[in-house]
């Protein structure tokens, strides 16, 4: 039986559903190419803003036992330099058939539109609109993803600024993620990515009595948040008709199956790179394929969303 792992995400073909999540390894064209060669079905660049940013001082990422906690603080070279990185990466990814998702952020609605417009000139396959970074609140104020109206405003502004498909990345740190999902869908999002990191959380060093992260608080990711991610994806998929990239704590083929059963079209992988390296994409892909074979599934659509049937 032939096995088809491919995915159509907003008209873009992914050879398999595994997407390198934003913020992980997406800092250079050679690194993005390596992740694609390791087995990712799509790669996302590290979120880029209007101007270069240094990010937060160290410590920025900690393994606290159930996953990671991070406050890297969106370091990036600024959109002008990012356009060059993306153009090079697209060239290197083309022969592999792996699409590129350009992740963007800004401090203001107009800033999002400006970055989207400029990044579109590099012609990425999709744009991820990161309105949900929990680690820059001190500088930027509350993330746009915490409120349906502001989430919709950003989405509409980016929608008007580009013809490329846009994925809006949501925060789990809200009382009703479905309301936000509906708002961004109505405002023109072609897809939704969920979830960004949970929290913010805090880990205190008990010798010094000080929070370990220099930013004191940070976003929680990894296996500990997977049940929350799966529930968010499940709820969003029940409420909207746009595709969802399910992200949160996926480390193996079984976890990817679970996310697909919740209704995700594609599956983001981020923190798993900590334990498994870039090679984790090939491992998860092969485990997913093995599971499908063992269960006589020929394509992902045969079991996508089946958790909704009762």
């Amino acid at each position: 039986m032939s096995l088809d792992l491919s995915v159509d995400l907003c008209g873009i073909r992914l050879p398999n559903p595994l997407v390198l999540a934003s913020g992980i390894l997406g800092t250079s064209a050679p690194l993005l190419e390596r992740v694609a060669r390791c087995g990712a079905g799509a790669v996302t660049t590290k979120s880029c803003g209007p101007a270069p940013r240094a990010g937060h001082p160290n410590p920025t990422v900690i393994d606290w036992g159930g996953g990671l906690i991070n406050a890297v603080g969106l370091p990036n070279p600024g959109v002008e330099a990012e356009v060059e990185i993306i153009a090079t990466a697209i060239e290197q990814l083309a022969p592999l058939g792996v699409p590129l998702i350009a992740s963007i952020f800004a401090e203001t609605v107009a800033g999002f539109a400006a970055v989207a417009e400029r990044i579109s000139t590099a012609n990425p396959d999709l744009i991820e609109v990161n309105i949900s970074c929990p680690n820059v609140t001190a500088e930027f104020g509350r993330p746009f993803a915490l409120d349906p109206a502001s989430a919709a405003q950003v989405t509409a502004a980016v929608r008007a600024a580009t013809t490329l498909p846009i994925i809006v990345k949501l925060s789990p740190n809200v009382t009703d993620i479905v309301a936000i999902a509906r708002a961004v869908e109505d405002a023109g999002a072609d897809a939704i990515a969920a979830i960004n990191t949970l929290g913010p959380g805090m880990v205190i060093d008990v010798e010094s009595g000080q929070p370990i992260l220099a930013n004191r608080v940070g976003g929680v990711s990894g296996p500990a948040i997977r049940p929350i991610a799966v529930r968010c994806v499940y709820d969003i998929c029940a409420a909207v008709s746009v595709p969802v990239v399910g992200i949160g704590g996926v480390t193996c083929g079984r976890d990817a199956v679970e996310m697909l059963m919740a209704g995700a079209t594609a599956v983001g992988v981020g923190s798993a790179v900590y334990q498994g390296g870039p090679e984790v994409f090939g491992h998860i892909r092969d485990e997913l394929a093995g599971w499908m074979q063992a269960h006589d599934y020929a394509s992902l659509s045969e079991f996508r969303g089946i958790a909704h049937e009762r």
Partner: protein
Amino acid sequence: MSGNLPSAARIVSITEENVRVKTLVLNARAQAQPGQFAMVWLPGADEKPFSIVDDHPLTFTIARVGPFTQQVHALNVGDRLWWRGPFGRGFEIVEGNGAHLLIGGGYGAAPLAFLARRLRAAGRQVIAIIGAKTKAELLLEARFAAMGCTVVVTTEDGSAGGRGLATDVARDVAHRERVATVYACGPEGMLAAVERLCAELHLPGQVSREGYMRCGLGVCGSCHHGPWLVCRDGPVFTVG
């Protein structure tokens, strides 16, 4: 669920190695390979990667180059600092006939001292070329000699040992002696010269690179070097 949180350790001794470099010995142990690193943290200050210079007891040799290392240098015996690790890929001791040729440029001598100790403990012949800009910046040359390494000192200004670059001395040594493997740590320009030397003489080599590290865990991508991450795929890379 233990994770890998920073551990606090007390400083049990401090040695001034030269005008800019101190060695701090901690009341802690690690199981490390030479070339691996740890993230050293001072709460409220910063956290930076440093080569492990010995693992038993845990030892760091730290140059004063910026605000963070200045704060580390201000610490006294009995004070605490925090570390997590060891991280990354270290030097691999390669079998082969001949001498193990170590090339340390500037602060790069520090991780090689750990490697030299392991090599000598395994009964290997070690030639250590210790280079610096000037005599005042030479590092650990006496320690290599005390371990029974053949030490060749060279400075760019000729103020100690021969005048010239460590890689030029290495070429001479490699023409004279049978060399099993080249191990190097130092500035990027020196490492590029070591790569060329290994290619030219058909010698296997391992170089320890510096990277701009943030997470140290192989996720943030800050320390990319081509398709590689210095913190995870390195800091030691195979050349030649």
